[in-house]
């Protein structure tokens, strides 16, 4: 990944190494799950405190993950559930 910097969004934010953005964007998913080694987790944290654009991407990834979790909480289709259970019973009975 060679050019994922986004200097235009740093604007009045403090000067920092834009090269860090590429590295940070690669590990954002792991960062939001606190799944990086402590030193790297802290380095990303510190970068996000300075960089609006990367922070925005982190917020968006986090919102995406929450929505994905929500898809599993939709109520099950009880008719289909009953059909699947019935099919399984029939198949198990047929084994004998």
């Amino acid at each position: 990944m060679s050019d994922t910097n986004h200097p235009e969004t740093h604007g009045p934010d403090q000067p920092h190494d834009h090269g860090d953005c590429s590295e940070v964007l690669q590990v954002l998913s792991a960062w939001i799950e606190n799944d990086l080694p402590a030193v790297q987790q802290a380095r990303v944290e510190s970068h996000l405190a300075e960089c609006t654009a990367c922070r925005h991407c982190a917020d968006e990834l986090r919102a995406t993950v929450l929505l994905l979790h929500d898809t599993a909480s939709r109520p099950p289709d009880y008719v289909r559930h009953a059909r699947l259970m019935q099919q399984m019973q029939t198949a198990l009975d047929a084994l004998e």
């Binding site: 994922t4 986004h6 690669q26 968006e60 599993a72 009880y78 289909r80 699947l84 019973q89 198949a91």
Partner: protein, 209 residues
Amino acid sequence: MSPIPPVPDDGEPAVSPTDLEAARHGDHAAFTRLVESLIDRLYSFSRYMCSDPEDAEDVVQDTLLTAYRKLADYRGEGSLRSWLFRIISTRCQKVRRRRVGEPERHLPFDELSPAALHQVREGPALATVAALPLDELVRTELMGRVEAAIADLPEEYRMVLILRDVEEFSTAEAAEITGLTAAAVKSRLHRARLTVRLALQPYLEEVVR
């Protein structure tokens, strides 16, 4: 039909050792109790992985029969849920391979490209829209868009995303189920999440207009 048994907060239905032992000795009722709370999640996974709903039901049945026959192989080291998902992921891949001629899907970008990230930065924020008190219709529509975005992912990314973010398996469990390394799971997951987020962009623009 009895109500669907509740799933504990950690997402893992409790497995009764008595039912497990009885099911290993051919007790159908005990086997039914073991899998009833998992059958809808197995179907959901199968439905995402097979484009055809009938194939999805067949895969669930095939998975459950295989599990019943091989229950002696399940030693209880991992969760029963994880073991069943390992079986069903293999079955889904077999169905996919049967569909000769179906076009391969590819991610719409090769890397975290500047253009892709620009879209995320410049458009409406999902974090803002998702936090709005959306009426039921919009919420349902948004969830439908999320599900369509999942379904559009290439299979190898779709499977990892569903296991990690929909079924909420750990990275280690997803690696075990798919046979991938943990690093490969993490890498595919990140790209899949970003792809889903980008796919929602046109809808978000409609909602905030």
